[in-house]
Symmetry: C2
């Protein structure tokens, strides 16, 4: 009976700069009497990875550029925040009142370059003065955690860091991978014939994003509730993997 | 320990026109000794719903229009197939060699209006001559199944019909809801402040699509392998729901 089981890790504390996420995850799993097995995957919200990596920025430290002032005039956001968004972005796709959609420097398209203010309260900081950037290199963050957990558990694990993105065409945000290690981002499933049998096509399935969506469902939007999800039963073999598999190059993208 | 468990239903037979999906699902669940509980959700691939509803079309019966011939000249697909795609669509968004992306009459954006040739082999039909359209009204299909299952089990269930869609910006297909009943498509999560605390915003999460992605992961692309997934632990209350919640109206969509 093939089954996929996702479990929220319990008693994960507020994460602060410098915290060892491997330690924290293993402590939670021990408390839950949940032993890691080969093939398991751990899914982390970007917020705790960013906080562990010290990606909090004090907004007062930022001086907006002319471009930031111009975009801020359209979208109505704080020009200093817009400046941070631009620094984290390759290009601006859309600016409208209340909305700033960019191509993030990591390659994906999202609102506000993924910059977030929530969770800052837990730091005893004034939430109006601090924002949280995405991890600098989420694939590397995932890989470091994978190596640390392998060292201590001897298990072959997948690690994924996720965020919630809006989408073209459909309402509602959805969990997506922004970094991963030790697991495929895409799986090519052969065996699909062309509608008239003349051509063998490949169907490429976004398995990491599908799992990110599943994990996001359990995380909800609770700021500090369930920042790590344990996954058992991922139906594809683990392998090396990277966010770069998922990013569609601009030249191949018909919807920018 | 909040957990979400997805289980593939076993021994679901090839589905044919007129089959009673409620019968077939209950027989499978009994064989697996898996009893439905209030709050459970059943996720079905569109293929078996379409087949039960007799949505197979013989391609030889189709005469292409001038518009179909014109688009077929660009995308290189069979003009009769293009004719069917156009009949199932409100508008054409992009046509390129090998690619035809439309707004489906049901409102979502997808390739080829979701028309599929696979599974046709199981019907002892020539796969080069038959194609499968999406269910005519997937919300209604889901509601009929929900009512039938409630009658027989007395359980309050959610039902979702899913397909795999390509996406803007990101490689890889992902499972998405194309019809649902008895469950939310979106959930509004309050409590997010604006980055400067001046405004209370709502974050709308695409929970049905997140669950569709999770179920799709277990279904794989196997034509007849695992067309129904049982879900336990969906973390939101069930309610009436509809695909229409998810469809972003063209006037609000910045990426068409």
């Amino acid at each position: 009976m093939p089954a996929l089981t996702l479990t929220s890790l319990e008693e994960v504390p507020f994460i602060r700069h410098g915290d060892d996420l491997a330690d924290i995850i293993l402590a939670s799993l021990i408390g839950m009497q949940l032993e890691l097995l080969d093939g398991d995957i751990l899914v982390l919200t970007q917020k705790i990875v960013s906080k562990a990596e010290g990606r909090l920025i004090e907004i007062a430290s930022v001086t907006p550029s002319k471009a930031a002032l111009r975009h801020a005039g359209i979208c109505g956001k704080d020009p200093r925040l817009v400046e941070l968004i631009l620094r984290e972005s390759k290009s601006v796709l859309r600016v409208r009142p209340g909305l700033l959609i960019v191509e993030h420097r990591l390659g994906f398209v999202c609102a506000n370059a993924g910059i977030d203010h929530s969770n800052v309260q837990a730091e005893d900081l004034n939430p109006s003065e601090w924002v949280l950037l995405l991890p600098e290199h989420p694939d590397d963050s995932a890989e470091r955690l994978r190596v640390a957990l392998r060292k201590r558990t001897k298990r072959t694990l997948g690690i994924m860091i996720i965020d919630s993105h809006g989408r073209a065409w459909r309402n509602g945000t959805e969990g997506v991978a922004i970094g991963l290690a030790g697991m495929p981002a895409l799986v090519d499933l052969r065996g699909q014939h062309d509608l008239f049998g003349q051509e063998l096509l490949t169907t490429t399935v976004g398995v990491a994003d599908e799992l990110a969506a599943a994990a996001s469902l359990l995380m909800g939007q609770a700021d500090e509730g369930t920042p790590v999800i344990h996954v058992r039963g991922f139906p594809y073999p683990l392998r090396e993997g990277s966010l770069s598999e998922i990013i569609r190059p601009e030249r191949e993208d018909l919807f920018r």
